[in-house]
Symmetry: C2
Subunit: 444 residues, 2 copies
């Protein structure tokens, strides 16, 4: 039996995931809106046969926002551009159900799927920053549970629009002049709690049938949503034990919803800092940590608590637990991880620095990074990883030095297995709902 | 003094502008969702030094829709992909103010402007198909005049979001650690009749400051909107006299609004059918006209009258004037042009065929096409043209055989003059509104 294969994604994040990463001597300060930079990273990741590229998102900033949130490409447009200069790698874009018309979203992802020859993926988010509502003329940000109820309905509508064309609806017979088989084009006529959408979509079903569904929330609601609907879940896990608990929980939920748990990939974030020796890796980590300052680390921490201002507290004192409620309103899983550090007795400043420049066991030699990945895979901590580039050049190091080790161990492919992202991930093409009904009727 | 230069755009329209164009022996039946086809056309247009590529749009289809509306790429995604494989040509996408969140639209066009190095243009439309509302959970399509009032406010908001970053807001000084100058990032705080948007936008000002504004309506409201706000207007004009009247009217309105009329390019659509001799061109036109059938021509006609079903009338009888009101509700200028043909005594069938396969004087040799373009330019019928490809291969013919004649006559450039689409069109980069206020204050 072939070994279980790692799923590896790379996060295109411009100036870097940390507040002060742009200050590194080799960093391009305009990376977040530099298409040449995105193109190079995308092509490097594809050279390493990685499964997918991932673009995160948010829809609200202010002058206190971290550089990599402040100014960056919009996901659908940058992934469409990247599609034109890559051939095999999956293209996963984050988009919110709270502030985008489902017809427009379904259409843009279907368009990306056609442009890329079947490589689109949608990371479904519910927008956890409270400031977002005001950019969309809304009075209030929806409560956490209501957002997930909306997400369920929204995803159902989007999938319905993707299915509004059966795969063979376009006849396109020059001899007879028939372009469309009208029986295979369907109105959705959805009327639900939040949405009313008629359809059909004005673009045919893409090569994948439906783009791959990602999810990135780890709260109770987020886990259930992922277990029910997602084909991959992007999560933060600080150590193997925690990761195993999360993995077991989500896979059990998926089974509970009648799904094959192998069709839901769990991919925690990882930010490897790789050196040719342990000492060199530690030097690089110190270089990275040295870029940050406490003020920015405190601001970054505030983001998980509804932009709370942590600079008013003593950084050497305890974490101010009274702000917990703000965290549960906005990003529940991130705030829980932070409160767990407070439980361990870390000071506010220590927590801010730890969250700002995570180590997470990902500092080491190529062998050590490969060992850790294999351990998490073998011991069911994850099905793979969503990789951040910690320092300029580290993606190249990963591709050139870690990927070959994983390949030699038989836990990572040497070639892309097929044309579409679904084939890369080992996922089936979803059967069109109307085609399924037609088949059921003719069998009856 | 250098001669006035033609502005030439090319419309990327997949299977072709006519209902049955896809039946041509050389036509790719999947052209509308074939990225390779779009890439070839885009690169051919760029080889011809054309000013821009143009992508039309609509947001509602049904089983009776024409093949080129039915199934096609979404404009922002396909233009982003095209941006990655071109270097100089402008990229104009159609997007509706009726059914897109202004924050998302401003952001995607700004992202396209960054991706393309300053080549984005937005064709502002108000969505004239009544079926659209139902795809967005709206009960009713807005009335014509209300849509234009919304368009004014919407454009103002989008420009405000594009200006929410001053050009030099990003300091990005590695030595001091200052990434942003917070005084140069601005909230918009717009509260108007239709929209409430806080801002700032989460992407910095693009290389053009603001993407180029196109407009495509020719009604009274549309003309005023264009004269006030647009930098190019895409229109349909059947003959030179009609074109001159339109040209004079719109330029006078622009002058009336205090604008320099030379900063508003008028580009009627043209669908050249080019042959090496007149006889060959006529043969090609006959080939094109022969692809269509009356039933589809009548359906196509219906599109300008709120999807009216014209097949119930005698095609050899007069045009049923009682449907005029439906036309005024949806696409006012198109229905007026059709009623004008009825005034000339054409039968319903003749009108449908004329509208379905327009000649418009654009059937001829490369010399004749160049002559006509020069005449319209010299006699102020237009500032250039928005070109449709009439038959497969005609874009290549235009680029290889007509463009060199225009260049030899000194009315079309041999090279792109600068980096951005604004430079190509001879338009200034708009001064940021906050920078202007700052300059005014410091001068006072």
């Amino acid at each position: 039996m072939p070994k279980r294969q790692l799923k590896l994604g790379f996060i295109l994040h411009g100036v870097g995931p940390g507040w002060d990463d742009w200050r590194h001597p080799d960093a391009l300060v305009d990376a977040s809106t530099n298409f040449g930079f995105y193109k190079r990273q995308a092509q490097t990741a594809e050279r390493g046969k990685l499964d997918y590229l991932f673009v995160a998102d948010s829809v609200s900033i202010n002058a206190r926002s971290s550089p990599h949130y402040l100014n960056r490409f919009e996901p659908l447009t940058i992934l469409s551009a990247v599609a034109a200069v890559t051939e095999h790698i999956g293209l996963v874009g984050t988009a919110t159900v709270s502030y985008t018309e489902p017809f427009n979203l379904a259409r843009q992802f279907a368009s990306l799927d056609h442009i890329s020859g079947g490589r689109a993926g949608w990371n479904v988010v519910t927008s956890w920053l409270e400031g977002s509502a005001a950019n969309y003329g809304k009075e209030e940000h929806l409560a956490h549970d209501v957002r997930y109820r909306l997400a369920e309905e929204y995803l159902d509508v989007v999938k319905g629009l993707w299915d509004s064309w059966e795969d063979d609806a376009l006849v396109r017979d020059k001899a007879t002049g028939q372009f469309l088989d009208p029986d295979k084009l369907h109105e959705l006529n959805h009327k639900g709690e939040f949405l009313k959408v008629k359809g059909p979509l004005n673009i045919s079903r893409g090569p994948q049938g439906q783009p791959v569904i990602f999810q990135a929330g780890s709260s109770e609601d987020g886990r259930n949503f992922a277990a029910r609907h997602a084909e991959a879940i992007f999560t933060h896990q600080d150590d193997l034990a925690q990761a195993q608990a999360f993995y077991a929980d989500v896979k059990a939920r998926a089974r509970g919803f009648g799904r094959d748990p192998d069709k839901l990939a769990i991919v925690p974030g990882a930010r490897p800092v790789i050196g040719s020796t342990e000492a060199e890796a530690e030097t690089k980590y110190a270089e990275l940590a040295g870029l940050g300052n406490l003020e920015n680390a405190l601001r970054a921490l505030g983001r998980s608590f509804n932009d709370h201002n942590f600079s008013v507290y003593d950084p050497d004192g305890p974490f101010p637990r009274e702000v917990a409620a703000e965290g549960f309103k906005s990003n529940q899983s991130a705030s829980e991880r932070i409160l767990a550090l407070a439980d361990q007795g870390l000071t506010l400043g220590e927590i801010a620095r730890r969250v700002g420049t995570p180590r997470g066991g990902w500092v080491g030699t190529p062998e050590q990074i490969a060992d850790r990945m294999q351990q998490w895979l073998d011991e069911r901590g994850s099905d793979g990883f969503n990789l951040f580039e910690s320092l300029p050049g580290q993606l190249d190091v990963f591709v050139d030095q870690v990927v070959p080790i994983l390949q030699d161990r038989g836990i990572f492919r040497r070639e892309y297995p097929g044309a579409t992202f679904r084939e890369t991930l080992g996922l089936d093409k979803p059967v069109n709902r109307y085609t399924a009904q037609r088949l059921a009727r003719s069998a009856a």
